[in-house]
C-alpha cells in the first residue's frame, strides 16, 4: 500500500499551476509594497508574515489538498513461446524425441510462470497458432515430460513446414500486446530463415519490434541416418525429352555409408512401378549428389518413387524413400494418326491436326492395298511401306496419343501389336478409335486386348457387330449436355448435329465410361441406346470411341457452313484436349491442400466448374493396385464454389483421386464426366529428409536479436525480462473539509487586514 499527497483532488493540473502562480504573484507584490513603504523592520515582518499566511490560506481554500492511498502488484512481461510443430520434432533429439524435448523445455519454462506471462504457440506453416493438441484417446499417448508441470504433452496438428520467419512476421504485425521476448523451441532445421544470414532474416521479419529472441535447442547431435535429403529436377520436365533428377543423399551420425544405390521409378495405376533410372551415390564427407537421367513419356502429374538402399544401422528408414509429384509439361502433343484408307473424314481430321501448331503429327495412311493394280513399278510410286512393327513397338511410347481411323488391324499386321497398344494406354497413352467400315468390330478388334481398353464393348463375332449404313442424327446424352469437353461444340451448334451416313455397331458402354453421344434408335443387347461417342479411362490412360466416319460434316457441309466450319475444329480440339487432360475440358480441378503426409489427416479441395450440380463422388485409388481406399461425397451447387473434403489418414504411397460430379444419372451403367488428380503421401516427407539438427542457426538467431541460446534442459535459465509494478486500487480523501479551508482563509485574511491597519498600511 502506498500513501501520497496531491495539491488538489478535482482541479486539473493547469488550474493548479495558475492558482499557485497567482498566489506567488500576490506574495511578491506584498513584498514590493513593504519595501517601498520603508517601514520599521518589526512592523514590516509582521505585515509580510501575515500576508504570506493569508495568501497560502487562500490558495489552500482554492485547491483543497487531498491525501491518496493506492494498492498495486507486480505483473510479469508477456513472453511468446514458439514451439516447433513441424513433423521433424518426432525425430530423435535430446534424451528421446525432439517432441519430448519440447515438453521438457516447456516444463522448465513453467517453473518461472510466476515471473512472466507465457503465450505458447505452435509454428510451422504461416502464422503461429495456439497449441491445438490433436492426440485422440485411441492413440498412444505421447510420453509426458518429467517435471512438475501440469501442461498436457505437446501434440499439435503436424505441420508440413517449419517456417519461423512467417511466425515472427505475424507476431510483429499483430495488433495486441507486444511481447517483451520470444522463446523459440526448435531443432534449427527450418525452412525460414535460411541457413545463411539467419540472424539478418529474423531481424527483417521482426521489423520495428526490437525484442530479444531466445532459442532453445531440442537436439544436439545427428542421428545415425542415411536419407534422401533433396530431389531436384534439373530444368523443366517435358514429356518425351530427356531430363535429369538431381538427388542429394546424406549420411550422418557415424553411419558408414560408402556407396548407396539409388533408384527412380514411376508409379502406375495398376501393376509394378516402371523403373526410370538408377545410379550409385558415392558418399564423401557425409553427402553425395547423383544425377539420374530419364525420359518420361506421359505429361501431367506423375508420381515418382525415389529410393536408396541404406546401410545397416540406419535409424530412420522412413526417409530412405521419397514420393514426389512431378508435373511433366508437354512441348507439343505428339499424335500418331493411322488411317486405313483416305476419305474425306481422314482428310478433315488430318487438316485439323496439321493446322494446330501445338500438335506434332506423324501420319500413316494406307493408300494401296495388296489387291490394288497400280499399273506402275514401285519406283514410279510415291509410296512407302507401312512400318507397323517399328511404330507399334519401338516408337509407340514417344506418342501422346494414337488415332486409329477406319483401320483394319488384321491385313496390316497390327493384330500382334494390340496387346502392346493396350499396355500403352494402361501406362498413360491416349487412344482414339474413329469409325468406318474397317473400324471396331469389322476391323478385327473384338476379343482383343485392345478391345478391353476401349470404352465400348466389342463382340468377338464380326458378323454380330458390323455396320449400319442407315443415316441418322446422333443425340446428346445427359452427360454430353454438361460435359466441358462438348461445351465448345455446343456453343457453336447448340443441340443440332448433322445427319451422319452410318455407324459401327458396338455393344454397351463399359463400366465407368462416359457416353456423350448416342444413337437415337439403335439399342445394345442390354436395351440401352447404342453409344456413338464414349470416353473412358483405363489404367493411367484415356480412350475415346467415335463410331462414325462423318465428323467431317462438321467441317464441310451445308450444316457446317452455319458455323463457318469451325465446329469440326472445336470438336476435335476438345477431344484431343480431354485425352491429354487439358484442364479446360475437365469437369473440376482437385488438389491436396497442404500436401499429403502418411498417417496425418489429408484434405482434398475440389474446384468444380460452374454449372454441373449434384453430388460429387471422389474415389481415392491406390496406385499400383487400383484398390479404392476411400469413397467421399460432397454436394456441388453449380456455383463453382470450392469444396473441402476430408480424406482421412492415408498410408504412404501414390494415389489417384477420381472425381465424378452429378453421378446417378438415369443410365446407371455409365458415368458423368470425370477428372482425376494423382498425388503422393510420404512417410517422412520434406521435414524428415534432413534429420540433422542445426544449432548454429539457432545461435545465430539469438545472437542477432540480443537473445540467448540454450538447450532444452536449461530453458529455465533464460534471462527473461523483469516484472513491472501495476496499480490496481487508488483511494483519494480530502485532508480537511472545504468549509475548514474557507474559514481558515477568511481568518488569515482578516488577521492580515488588522496587522496592516496597525502598521499604517491601508
Amino acid at each position: 500500500m502506498n500513501r501520497s499527497f496531491a495539491l488538489s483532488g478535482d482541479l486539473a493540473p493547469p488550474f493548479v499551476i495558475l492558482a499557485c502562480a497567482l498566489a506567488a504573484l500576490s506574495a511578491v507584490l506584498l513584498l514590493i509594497e513593504l519595501w517601498r513603504s520603508r517601514r520599521a523592520r518589526a512592523s514590516a515582518f509582521r505585515i509580510g508574515a501575515s500576508g504570506l499566511l493569508a495568501v497560502l490560506g487562500l490558495l489552500a481554500a482554492v485547491l483543497r489538498p487531498v491525501g491518496i492511498v493506492s494498492k498495486g502488484s507486480l505483473v510479469g512481461p508477456k513472453v511468446i513461446v514458439l514451439a516447433d510443430a513441424s513433423r521433424s520434432i518426432d525425430l530423435p533429439g535430446l534424451d528421446g524425441t525432439r517432441r519430448q524435448a519440447i515438453d521438457r523445455a516447456l516444463a522448465e519454462l513453467d517453473q518461472r510462470s510466476g515471473e512472466v506471462r507465457y503465450s505458447v504457440l505452435a509454428f510451422g506453416d504461416g502464422a503461429p497458432t495456439p497449441v491445438d493438441n490433436v492426440a485422440s484417446p485411441g492413440e498412444s499417448p505421447p510420453i509426458a515430460a518429467p517435471g512438475k508441470t501440469a501442461r498436457a504433452p505437446f501434440h499439435p496438428r503436424a505441420r508440413l513446414q517449419s517456417d519461423l520467419g512467417a511466425a515472427l512476421e505475424a507476431i510483429a504485425r499483430a495488433a495486441d500486446e507486444r511481447p517483451a521476448a520470444v522463446v523459440v523451441l526448435s531443432d534449427g532445421r527450418l525452412d525460414r530463415p535460411a541457413e545463411l544470414s539467419a540472424g539478418d532474416a529474423v531481424k527483417a521479419a521482426l521489423g520495428a519490434l526490437q525484442i530479444p529472441i531466445h532459442t532453445v535447442s531440442l537436439a544436439d547431435t545427428a542421428p545415425r541416418d542415411a536419407s534422401i535429403r533433396r530431389v531436384l529436377a534439373a530444368g523443366a520436365a517435358v514429356a518425351h525429352q530427356p531430363f535429369s533428377l538431381r538427388i542429394e543423399i546424406g549420411c550422418d551420425g557415424g553411419l558408414s555409408c560408402g556407396d548407396v544405390p539409388v533408384v527412380a521409378r514411376e508409379l502406375r495405376e495398376k501393376g509394378e512401378p516402371t523403373q526410370l533410372a538408377s545410379g550409385v551415390a558415392h558418399i564423401v564427407a557425409g553427402r553425395a549428389t547423383v544425377e539420374l537421367p530419364m525420359t518420361i513419356e506421359r505429361a501431367g502429374a506423375r508420381i515418382l518413387e525415389i529410393s536408396i538402399q541404406a546401410p545397416a544401422g540406419d535409424a530412420i528408414p522412413e526417409n530412405d524413400r521419397r514420393f514426389i509429384t512431378l508435373d511433366v509439361t508437354r512441348d507439343r502433343v505428339r499424335v500418331l494418326h493411322v488411317a486405313g484408307r483416305p476419305t474425306y473424314d481422314v482428310r478433315a481430321l488430318r487438316m485439323w491436326l496439321k493446322s494446330d501448331a501445338s500438335v506434332d503429327v506423324v501420319a500413316f495412311f494406307i493408300l494401296r492395298t495388296p489387291t490394288d493394280n497400280v499399273e506402275a513399278s514401285p519406283d514410279e510410286l510415291a509410296l512407302i511401306p507401312f512400318p507397323v512393327d517399328e511404330l507399334f513397338s519401338e516408337h509407340l511410347p514417344s506418342f501422346d496419343a494414337v488415332v486409329l481411323q477406319d483401320f483394319n488391324a488384321e491385313p496390316y499386321g497390327l493384330t500382334k501389336h494390340l496387346p502392346s497398344l493396350a499396355r500403352y494406354v494402361d501406362k498413360g497413352g491416349g487412344l482414339i478409335m474413329v469409325g468406318g467400315p474397317d473400324a471396331f468390330g469389322p476391323g478385327h478388334y473384338g476379343g482383343t486386348k485392345l478391345a478391353e481398353v476401349l470404352p465400348v464393348d466389342l463382340s468377338p463375332d464380326r458378323k454380330e457387330q458390323g455396320t449400319d449404313l442407315a443415316g441418322f442424327t446422333p443425340r446428346f446424352t445427359e452427360a454430353g449436355r454438361v460435359a466441358p469437353v462438348l461445351a465448345p461444340l455446343r456453343a457453336l451448334i447448340g443441340e443440332d448435329l448433322p445427319e451422319i451416313p452410318g455407324v459401327d455397331l458396338v455393344g454397351d458402354a463399359r463400366r465407368d465410361t462416359t457416353v456423350l453421344l448416342e444413337h437415337p434408335t439403335r439399342k445394345t443387347a442390354s436395351g440401352a441406346p447404342m453409344p456413338v461417342l464414349a470416353l473412358g479411362e483405363h489404367g493411367s490412360g484415356r480412350t475415346m470411341a467415335l463410331t462414325i466416319d462423318g465428323s467431317h460434316r462438321l467441317l464441310f457441309s451445308a450444316f457446317a457452313a452455319n458455323a463457318a466450319g469451325r465446329a469440326h475444329g472445336a470438336f476435335w480440339d476438345a477431344m484431343l484436349g480431354w485425352l491429354m487432360r487439358d484442364p479446360r475440358f475437365e469437369p473440376a480441378v482437385i488438389d491436396v491442400r497442404g500436401g499429403c503426409v502418411a498417417g496425418e489427416d489429408t484434405t482434398l479441395t475440389l474446384h468444380p466448374l460452374p454449372g454441373p450440380q449434384g453430388e460429387a463422388v471422389v474415389k481415392i485409388l491406390r496406385l499400383g493396385t487400383g484398390e479404392v481406399v476411400a469413397t467421399l461425397k460432397t454436394p456441388v451447387d453449380g456455383s463453382g464454389a470450392a469444396r473441402e473434403i476430408a480424406a482421412g489418414k492415408l498410408p504412404a504411397g501414390g494415389y489417384s483421386a477420381v472425381v465424378e460430379i452429378g453421378s446417378g444419372m438415369k443410365n446407371g451403367t455409365t458415368k458423368s464426366p470425370t477428372t482425376r488428380r494423382d498425388f503422393a503421401c510420404e512417410s517422412g516427407g520434406e521435414e524428415w529428409a534432413d534429420s540433422r539438427p542445426d544449432e548454429d542457426r539457432l545461435r545465430a538467431i539469438a545472437a542477432a536479436t540480443g537473445g540467448v541460446f540454450v538447450r532444452a534442459a536449461d530453458a529455465g535459465q533464460l534471462p527473461l525480462p523483469a516484472a513491472t509494478q501495476v496499480a490496481t486500487e487508488r483511494k483519494v480523501a480530502p485532508i480537511l473539509p472545504a468549509w475548514a479551508w474557507t474559514l481558515s482563509a477568511a481568518v488569515l485574511l482578516g488577521a492580515h487586514w488588522v496587522v496592516r491597519r496597525r502598521g499604517g498600511l491601508t
Binding site: P342, R347, M351, V362, D372, A376, I384, G436, A560, A561
Partner: protein, 255 residues
C-alpha cells in the same frame, strides 16, 4: 526401318490377297468417298463424250488405290446448297463461261472458304477460252488469289505416283497452275484436257485420241488424275517429313 518394313508389307500383301479381290466402295453410304462432281454454271449442261470421264476417274482411283470413290458421279450447280455437300468439284469446258451470277459467286466463295478444292480443266487447250474466262470469274470469287505454276515440287505430283510433269489429252505445259491458300493448292488449273484423256465409250475404248504421246500419255493423264484425287483425300500427306527420304531416293533413281 527398311528390311522390317518390307517384311511387313509382304505380310500385309499376303493377308490382303487372302481377303479376296473384290472390294466395294465402302464408306458409310459412300459418304467419305472421292466424288468428282461436275460443276455447272450459267446455262451450261454436262454432255458430250467427256461425260464418262468422271466415272472412269473414280474407277481408276478405286482400282489402283485404297481410296473409295463414287463410280457414278453427278453434277452440281454453283448456286445450289449441295455444292457444300462435298469438298471437291470439277469445272470443265471448251468455251468461255458466262459471267457468274451473284448467287454463283456466293456459292463458290463459301465452297472455297470451307476448304473445298476445285479442279478447272480446259477441254479445248488449243483455244484456251474456257480457262481464261474461268480465271476472270474466279477473280471475283477469290480477289486476293492469282494462279501460279506448280510443278513436280508440289505435293500433287507425288500424292500417289511420282510424276515429273502434267499431262492430258494434249501434252500441254509441264506444269499445272494453282491458286494457293494456306500453303496448299485450292484451285487447280489444267490446260491439258484431262477429262478428254479419261473419257471412255460404252464399248470400253477411248473415244478421244491423245496426242502426241498416245496411250503412254493417256496413262500419265490417268496418273495425274489419281494424284489429284489423292491430294483431295489426303491433303499434304506426302509432304510429311517421314516420306521425304524415300521420295528423294526414288526421284534420283528414276530417269
Amino acid at each position: 526401318m527398311g528390311r522390317r518394313a518390307a517384311v511387313a508389307l509382304i505380310t500385309a500383301a499376303t493377308a490382303g490377297l487372302a481377303l479376296g479381290s473384290s472390294r466395294p466402295a465402302r464408306a458409310f453410304g459412300e459418304e467419305g468417298a472421292f466424288d468428282p462432281r461436275v460443276l455447272l454454271t450459267g446455262n451450261a449442261r454436262w454432255e458430250g463424250v467427256r461425260t464418262t470421264a468422271p466415272g472412269r476417274w473414280s474407277k481408276e482411283l478405286a482400282d489402283r488405290t485404297s481410296a473409295p470413290a463414287r463410280l457414278g458421279p453427278g453434277t452440281v450447280r454453283a448456286d445450289e446448297p449441295t455444292l457444300l455437300a462435298e469438298p471437291f468439284a470439277l469445272w470443265g469446258g471448251d468455251d468461255a463461261v458466262l459471267v457468274l451470277t451473284d448467287r454463283e459467286v456466293s456459292g463458290l466463295k463459301r465452297f472455297i472458304a470451307l476448304g473445298g478444292v476445285l479442279l478447272v480443266d480446259e477441254f479445248a487447250p488449243e483455244k484456251g477460252a474456257f480457262l481464261r474466262s474461268v480465271k476472270r470469274e474466279l477473280a471475283r470469287v477469290l480477289p486476293e488469289g492469282s494462279p501460279i505454276p506448280i510443278g513436280d515440287e508440289n505435293v500433287i505430283f507425288r500424292s500417289f505416283y511420282l510424276l515429273r510433269r502434267a499431262a492430258g489429252r494434249v501434252e500441254g505445259p509441264a506444269k499445272l497452275e494453282a491458286i494457293i491458300r494456306g500453303g496448299l493448292p485450292q484451285v487447280i488449273f489444267s490446260a491439258h484436257d484431262l477429262m478428254g484423256a479419261l473419257a471412255r465409250s460404252p464399248s470400253g475404248l477411248s473415244p478421244i485420241a491423245v496426242t502426241p504421246g498416245g496411250e503412254r500419255q493417256r496413262e500419265k493423264a490417268v496418273r495425274l488424275a489419281v494424284n489429284i484425287a489423292m491430294y483431295v483425300l489426303c491433303s499434304s500427306y506426302k509432304d510429311d517429313q517421314v516420306h521425304a527420304p524415300f521420295l528423294m531416293r526414288r526421284r534420283k533413281s528414276t530417269p
